[in-house]
């Protein structure tokens, strides 16, 4: 505990970590502002203009209606279900500027915030640990605290818990800010909630409770990647090396492999992080084969769900394995 306390003090004293925290919290403030801008009710001028466009469209629709019905009748001679949409009703909403709502857009904003937040979390942890190796201060440290296992775990745990205030403040700022922004504009309810054409969609719309829960899981994900970054920093000894390796991983494995090998999707880092934070993600896998009857190359798209539990388990296993490798490296490596 003594070492952990000291490491947390060191974490708190690092200026770079404060700078990164301020940046990410600034972004968390910016996004609700953007939401507030995008969820404003239309102005009188915008409504008037939209009404004019809608009227013009309705007039054109009415003129075309007879012809449309005739063509539809003809089509139904061969296809009884043919529907040309001749009774299409023009709605003024279609001509108003798009207006964001909490139920429709708060979730995607939080999920979009996930990547920068995770990157900052891993960068903070990696820089916190790697700085000690890069400056050589670890050698001095070990002459005071020679139990390498304790030293290692104190650093990993400090990095993991050290990012929590940054993650909590930024997520709370974003979640609370989004609620306030949408509330101020009275734009909580989805525009599609009562739309008969969008029936059944309401079940997946965002609620404040769901958003808070997703935010909580995002904080846990930040802690997980911080542990990963700290362990990798012990293994690689330089922040740049850790960030470079992660960038290469994202580009090659998460990018190329994800595109080429659909079955690898459940075991990749990002999809599992998404599944954990979002409460599950859907992905599609194409299975292609020669049709036995026609001999043609036929692809069948299958929908899969990556559950939140699966995401949590995979992330936990990855972090655990890398942390153990870091521990072994720390125990055995010569310190120059």
């Amino acid at each position: 505990m003594r070492l952990l306390r000291v490491e947390l003090t060191r974490f708190r004293c690092r200026v770079l970590l404060w700078v990164l925290s301020v940046c990410v919290i600034g972004l968390a403030l910016l996004l609700p502002f953007q939401a507030w801008q995008s969820s404003k009710a239309p102005t009188a001028a915008q409504i008037e203009q939209a009404q004019r466009y809608a009227d013009e469209e309705q007039k054109a629709q009415d003129e075309y209606r007879e012809e449309c019905l005739e063509q539809q009748e003809e089509a139904r001679e061969t296809d009884p279900n043919a529907d040309y949409g001749c009774d299409y009703e023009v709605r003024i909403e279609n001509y108003l500027p798009w207006r964001q709502t909490f139920e429709d857009d708060a979730g995607s904003t939080l999920y979009g915030f996930m990547i920068p937040l995770l990157l900052v979390g891993v960068a903070m942890a990696a820089s916190f640990v790697a700085a000690e190796f890069a400056t050589g201060a670890i050698g001095n440290w070990l002459t005071f605290a020679p139990r390498r296992g304790r030293v290692y775990w104190s650093k990993v745990v400090a990095a993991t818990t050290g990012v929590v205030p940054m993650a909590v403040v930024s997520v709370a700022t974003l979640v609370g800010g989004l609620w306030v922004a949408y509330s101020l504009n009275d734009s909580i309810t989805s525009q599609w909630a009562d739309d008969p054409d969008m029936g059944g969609e309401r079940a997946v719309l965002m609620t404040p409770e769901l958003l808070v829960a997703a935010g909580g899981r995002l904080v846990v994900a930040v802690m997980a990647v911080a542990a990963l970054g700290a362990a990798l920093a012990v293994i690689m000894r330089h922040t740049a090396a850790v960030l470079g390796a992660l960038a290469a991983w994202l580009a090659v494995i998460e990018g190329l492999v994800r595109g080429q090998v659909g079955s690898a999707f459940p075991y990749l880092l990002l999809p599992n992080l998404q599944a954990w934070v979002q409460g599950g993600v859907t992905y599609y896998d194409d299975v292609c084969a020669n049709d036995a009857d026609t001999g043609e190359w036929v692809c069948t798209t299958t929908e899969h769900v990556l559950s939140q539990t699966h995401g949590g388990v995979v992330i936990g296993v990855v972090v655990g394995v890398v942390a153990l490798v870091g521990w072994l490296v720390m125990r055995r490596r010569d310190v120059q």
């Binding site: 003594r2 070492l3 306390r5 000291v6 003090t9 060191r10 004293c13 690092r14 200026v15 700085a131 000690e132 400056t135 050589g136 201060a137 050698g139 001095n140 440290w141 070990l142 002459t143 005071f144 605290a145 020679p146 139990r147 055995r332 010569d334 310190v335 120059q336």
Partner: protein, 328 residues
């Protein structure tokens, strides 16, 4: 200073090899038996690359030995290092602290790591004369200040054994003297100080006992006075008007004679008076006859046959490896 016969450090058959990038192995330390008595200043000497820092790092558990045993205050290390680390303060090569933290902050972190009272930080900062600069960032410190901060860090533990690895590297004369005074002062307080250096003359002024290594092997150890005594005054500087003729006469006695400008350096003469006697018989009169002062550097060069940093293995040396009267 009084030696108790106890050993602060003892190694037996210590060996460490490094693997080079091309896959070949480099032996840094080879079968090293090092004994450092409790009390006083012990010089750990040898040229650059002779294995001093590697040995110290192995003692501190920073690198792993391939073979051999090490004991610090009779405890096997690195296995029991956590039990004795509180009695050991060390500065290995250049001091390494967090560059963006102040000197005080760095010491507070270390004090926190060992559970020392944070008030002690101000005391040790004052002891090394850094109280006024304690709030400044470490990276703004001069090399001398960095060394002093490192010494302050070691004092946080009030250790019984202090290990200084090349502590005067890069320091100006005043800084070197300061470090020397610190080491003597610590020894005067009953501490054991192990100081490694490749500058033998510097350590000679402060050390009570020394170990000299080359190519990772021990080539001599013992009290400084004993080591200096092994080669005492066997070289004599002779000034004479006709050095060529005089040289031939002296060589005819079986002594080794070297020219040094207009003077001669004579090795092997049992008594300087014999030189004057032989030359005077031939009408040659000396205008200078001076025993050449023996220092650790000359002893080292003698022991290693002046082959420089590489040197030859100790078992080839005619004088063996321990100085007469060695107590360690």
């Amino acid at each position: 200073m009084a030696f108790t016969g106890e050993l602060a450090i003892s190694t037996r058959g210590l060996r460490k090899t490094y693997r080079r990038l091309n896959g070949s192995k480099h032996v840094a330390v080879e079968g090293l038996d090092l004994d450092v008595p409790v009390g006083g200043v012990h010089g750990f000497l040898g040229p650059n690359g002779s294995g001093k820092t590697t040995t110290i790092r192995m003692l501190l558990g920073l690198i792993r030995a391939d073979q051999g045993t090490m004991r610090v205050f009779d405890q096997p290390v690195p296995a029991r290092l956590p039990d004795v680390v509180g009695r050991v303060g060390a500065i290995v090569e250049q001091p390494k602290f967090f560059p963006n933290f102040s000197g005080r902050r760095n010491l507070l972190l270390l004090a926190g790591a060992i559970g020392a009272d944070s008030r002690l930080v101000e005391v040790v900062l004052g002891d090394v004369g850094l109280a006024d600069r304690a709030k400044d960032r470490y990276r703004t410190y001069s090399l001398g200040m960095k060394q002093r901060l490192a010494i302050a860090a070691t004092l946080l533990k009030d250790p019984d054994l202090l290990i200084f690895d090349e502590p005067t590297n890069g320091l100006d004369p005043a800084g070197i003297r300061e470090i020397r005074d610190v080491m003597r002062g610590l020894a005067g307080r009953g501490k054991t100080v192990l100081v490694s250096s490749h500058i033998l003359a510097e350590v000679e002024q402060v050390a009570d006992t020394v170990s000299i290594i080359a190519r990772g092997r021990m080539i001599a150890d013992g009290r400084v006075s004993d080591l200096l005594g092994t080669g005492a005054a066997r070289t004599v500087r002779v000034g004479v008007a006709v050095p060529g003729t005089a040289g031939s006469l002296l060589e005819a006695q079986g002594w080794t004679v070297r020219r040094d400008g207009h003077q001669l350096l004579v090795d092997g003469a049992p008594d300087p008076a014999r030189i004057t006697e032989i030359l005077a018989r031939q009408g040659l009169f000396v205008d200078e006859l001076t025993p050449v002062k023996v220092d650790l550097e000359s002893v080292f060069l003698e022991l290693t046959a002046g082959q420089g940093p590489g040197t030859r293995p100790p078992d080839e040396h005619p004088h063996g490896r321990r100085a007469a009267g060695s107590d360690s």
